[in-house]
Symmetry: C2
Subunit: 358 residues, 2 copies
């Protein structure tokens, strides 16, 4: 690396010289601290203008220790859920004059770790993270700056957290399906779980995933459905193999008659897969998904969804975090936002099937 061309930028000293005052005084005016007489102030301001002075935030941050930016690590900005949440965050941040450094983890812990390391090195004042995996959270515990969790709580991590009422949402949605007569209901999520499930709720310590599963299972139990655990499908992320798995699920002899999808990306994939299999919604399969993504209302049939207050989710974490940055030292808050089900046309009664023994 050769010495950078480094356009010598205008510094406080330059302005000071131009205004014929000391560096300290110029800095006081430019930095907006301390007391300065009006005459000097205008002189400095004048000089700054003619020289086109622009403060170097980096240098400022160095001494103050505050960088004026927060880091946000999300799973996948492409997922409309996250883009909307991020907008909520950045809207709030802008109001406080804070800016947002965005990092994508791609839902991979290693990428998440690395992103956090980089952001910390950049001296972000605070961090908002959507933890990719719940098992591996040592790196989150080590974080030295204020941390807030978005959408996914971690019981072991006592920090500000904003989630939605996942359990109730899943419970209600599943109940809607059981009440329509469905017995073979699948829950499909992009989350990954190492190893087999088999009632290992305890091993899932990402709240979002666990709570939803708990709600799902509770509704199944209510309806007297046994072995519902077997119908929970992990790892349906954005990949071809995941799509193949879905097709497989739909083509099996004992395919589900109703599906609850964990997010709109998975749901869209499911929607396409259902079509590919020549199945009809809700004739052959009923579908409910988390997240009222824009497309869900324009399909035929439109999809019944669990409407999460996504923008508010982002807005709230950002507010919580920023409050914390301002010195608030109340104990961490865990905000749970309510959800609502928007009924559309994708839920029907249980279709009669070859497998039926009526």
């Amino acid at each position: 690396m050769k010495r950078p061309p480094k356009v010598p930028s205008i510094t406080v000293s330059d302005v000071a010289r131009e205004a014929k005052v000391s560096k300290a005084t110029a800095a006081r005016v430019l930095g907006g601290y301390g007391t300065v007489s009006d005459t000097v102030r205008t002189a400095v301001l004048e000089a700054a203008k003619t020289l086109d002075y622009r403060p170097n935030e980096l240098a400022r941050s160095m001494t103050t220790g505050r960088s004026g930016s927060i880091g946000v690590v999300v799973g996948d900005i492409e997922n409309p859920f996250f883009s909307l949440a991020v907008r909520g965050i950045s809207d709030v941040a802008r109001l406080s004059g804070i800016n947002v450094i965005l990092a994508n983890s791609g839902e991979e812990v290693e990428a998440e770790k690395s992103a956090i390391r980089v952001l910390m090195a950049k001296q972000v004042d605070g961090l908002i993270v959507t933890p990719a995996q719940s098992g591996d959270i040592a790196h989150l515990k080590e974080i030295a700056c204020p941390l807030a969790l978005l959408d996914r709580a971690l019981p072991e991590l006592d920090v500000d957290t904003v989630t939605v009422d996942d359990r109730t949402a899943a419970l209600r949605a599943t109940r809607m399906l059981t009440q329509a007569g469905h017995r073979r209901i699948a829950y499909v999520t992009a989350a990954v779980l190492s190893g087999d499930f088999r009632g290992a709720e305890s091993r899932i310590n990402t709240s979002t995933v666990r709570e939803r599963i708990l709600g799902f299972l509770e509704a199944c139990r209510e309806a007297g459905i046994e072995g519902a655990e077997r119908n929970i499908h992990f790892g349906s992320g954005r990949s071809q193999s995941a799509h193949a798995v879905l097709l497989n699920l739909l083509r099996g002899a004992d395919r589900p008659t109703a599906i609850l999808a964990s997010d709109s990306v998975v749901a869209l994939d499911l929607f396409k897969a259902i079509r590919e299999c020549g199945l009809g919604i809700p004739r052959d399969i009923s579908l409910i998904t988390f997240h009222d993504a824009d497309w869900t209302s324009v399909t035929t049939p439109p999809i019944t969804v669990i409407d999460q207050p996504v923008y508010a989710l982002g807005k709230s974490v950002a507010e919580l975090l920023i409050r914390r940055l301002k010195g608030d030292d109340r104990p961490p808050e865990r905000i749970v936002l309510p959800t609502a089900i928007i009924e559309r046309m994708s839920v029907g009664g249980r279709p009669s099937q070859p497998g039926d023994r009526s």
Copy 2:
């Protein structure tokens, strides 16, 4: 502002003391420059590990002048077009160890200006911008670091630019509509234009918008359609009033029989408006939109789209910019990526109408 609690972090000096070498030597090891003997190196590394030393990127940036991050200013992250492009950018950036500071302009010049100012102050090494308005670009000319333009070219700004072949795309799409027999074709865009249009192509100097309109008009001219300029509708952004305008357009006596939408957000809005008016696609109205958003393939009917290589768009600008950061000083490049039309089911023949004089 009281003195920040400022957890005294471990610095090179601390490590140096622990390893019993000079600060300069410790810095050489930790910073990975200069020459150090192996014995000393391991000793320093050891010390760094026991002390859990973490470099302060800010301080590093201060002296090197390089911050290792680039700023990205987009119109609206919520628009899937931009989220995808941003992913392209950040994927490339990560490979180079550069991180991305994201800012939303909300398509407003003032917000854009302010975002750029902040990012510059943060000493970003480079900037990728999707200029919100073409009229007001003085702030872009003043940018002191490498700048690259995404999706929208500005003729007056001779910098690296990556766009798509908007004119041909619009031409082909419009031609598809004229060849289906349509004569009243509207072009609906979220872009805003101050004042009236009336053949003022020259006043539009955002390439994307201008080129598309030029393509649109050319196709109309080919088909002998006169006064096509009157069917260009600006300002259909994400707002209620915009939706009302659309409804108005669709309910007018001489409503268009075919529409070309400038992006998927506008198109979705149009799709909903068309439904609200009780009109059918393609029976009453044909629709083509820019951007192959995921939902366009699952509607009934699925929408014919102009498929833009959005991820590649982001990837390319990022590559161009990073190359420039590495010292490349070739003249600015203007890359134009090709588009393709994906024909689906939203284009039909011209419906017979009361207004017809056959």
